[in-house]
Amino acid sequence: MIEVKDIYKTFGDNEVLKGISVKFEAGKNNLIIGGSGSGKTTLLKCIVGLHEPTKGQVFFNGENFTEMNFEERVPIRTEIGMLFQNSALFDSMTVEENIMFPMNLFTNQTKAEKLDRANFCLERVNLKGKNKLFPAELSGGMKKRVGIARAIAMQPKYLFVDEPNSGLDPKTSILIDELINELTDEYNITTVVVTHDMNSVMGIGEHIVFLHQGQKWWEGSNHEIAHTDNKELNDFVFASKFMQAAKDRL
């Protein structure tokens, strides 16, 4: 479980996060949603330690991650998998090398064992046989899937996903969502997804946190979201006529 306690984050005079507290439970798809500039990615980066919060703390299974130094964070970081918005695959490495990279650094497995694990991860994301390709040779959807394969290579306890559907067609987006959902259930991972894709929200949003102007504005599930009277959330989720009509049918 991940617990975020009263997180504030300021860049210069701009206060991006204003006292956010939330708990993300294991085995659940936790979604952080909100409009552009609402602080979703900043919150995610504060949780994983890419940004240091101005105030507040983050706990991973009760351990205060915020107060740890770089070395103390390493054991927790080896339990974290993250898929970045642009996949962030290492350009100079093949798909296989990308997946094996964390294993090379943090395990004492033999090359054959690492290769087996890389093949398993690739098979899990339906990219069997793509081992020797370089990131530049992959489509956007394939890059995301390789990113997921790399994220699960070390059998993480926590999976963070930043905008998994950005730049993807609807069909591929659904495939990525389903994959994240399956992995969360299969390995009982604490998954935190930052998104503003409504298909994801309605499809896999077991626990949704809506951010507005740097604050936690609403919290609930995808079943509850259709019946909320929270104006800002309704304006965000049901902004299109199509979504409004879908809501009316519910």
């Binding site: 330690g49 970045f84 642009n86 695959l89 290492f90 964390p102 090379n104 943090f106």
Partner: protein, 243 residues
């Protein structure tokens, strides 16, 4: 300026922290050595031969007269090549070739979140990305400078043969006259220092890139400019201290 200097020193400190796994870092060092050393061979060879040849012809022209023995041109060309042309000109060329490559490579990794990905995995990103480049630079630049000295002096010999301004025999006599081994030591100290400056300054510029493609280009340019200025400054300091 002091803020940047402090950041640069802190980044260097982080770069030389104990590696997560020595074997992975070692293979990175080898890869960088190939990239810096083998990748720069052609350009170093070309500029060295031409500079050696031009230096010899110019010295021969300036010292032409009945009172000066022709062999002096060989001596002056040798010392100039060892002390100044090979280390400094090579370093300036290498700043353009490997420095811009280092800054843009690390800068691109920064703006495409690849450095964030390393940090999320628990990897000491400066250690993994910068330390192997600095070690490779400090190893390969001196080797390239030695090669440059040999080729520069050879270029001078070729110029003698082709132009006929000095006889090749006089040139060789001049090369062998009054050789002081200290000049080679000075050249090596310069080469090691320049190797460190090029790789560390350009890596620093790349590591703290923020924005997009435009900023990566700016980091690359800044890296090369600062490296060149620091190379010339270090050249003066080392020359003053050692000679």
């Amino acid at each position: 300026m002091f803020y940047s200097l402090g950041k640069y020193i802190l980044l260097l400190r982080l770069s030389f922290k104990k590696p997560e796994k020595f074997s992975v870092y070692w293979s990175e060092v080898m890869r960088e050595m190939v990239s810096i050393g083998i990748g720069s061979l052609a350009i170093i060879a070309i500029i060295s031969v031409f500079i050696g040849a031009a230096t010899t012809i110019q010295v021969a022209f300036q010292l032409s007269g009945p009172l000066v023995p022709q062999s002096v041109a060989g001596t002056i060309a040798r010392d100039s090549t060892i002390l100044e042309f090979s280390p400094t000109i090579s370093a300036l060329v290498l700043a353009g070739r490997i420095g811009s490559s280092i800054a843009s490579q690390i800068g691109t990794m920064r703006v495409t979140e690849q450095i964030d990905a390393l940090e999320i995995m628990g990897v000491n990103a400066p250690g993994y990305l910068i330390a192997p480049k600095i070690i490779a630079g400090m190893t390969m630049v001196p080797i390239l400078v030695v090669l440059s000295i040999v080729l520069g002096i050879s270029g001078g010999y070729i110029a003698c043969v082709v132009s006929g301004d000095i006889s090749p025999a006089d040139y060789v006599i001049g090369l062998r006259e009054g050789f002081i081994p200290l000049t080679v030591r000075v050249a090596m100290v310069k080469a090691i220092t320049f190797g460190f400056l090029i790789t560390s300054i350009c890596a620093y510029q790349g590591f703290y890139t923020s924005g997009g493609a435009l900023e990566v280009g700016q980091s690359s340019t800044s890296g090369v400019v600062y490296s060149c200025v620091m190379i010339l400054f270090a050249d003066l300091v080392i020359t003053r201290l050692m000679l």
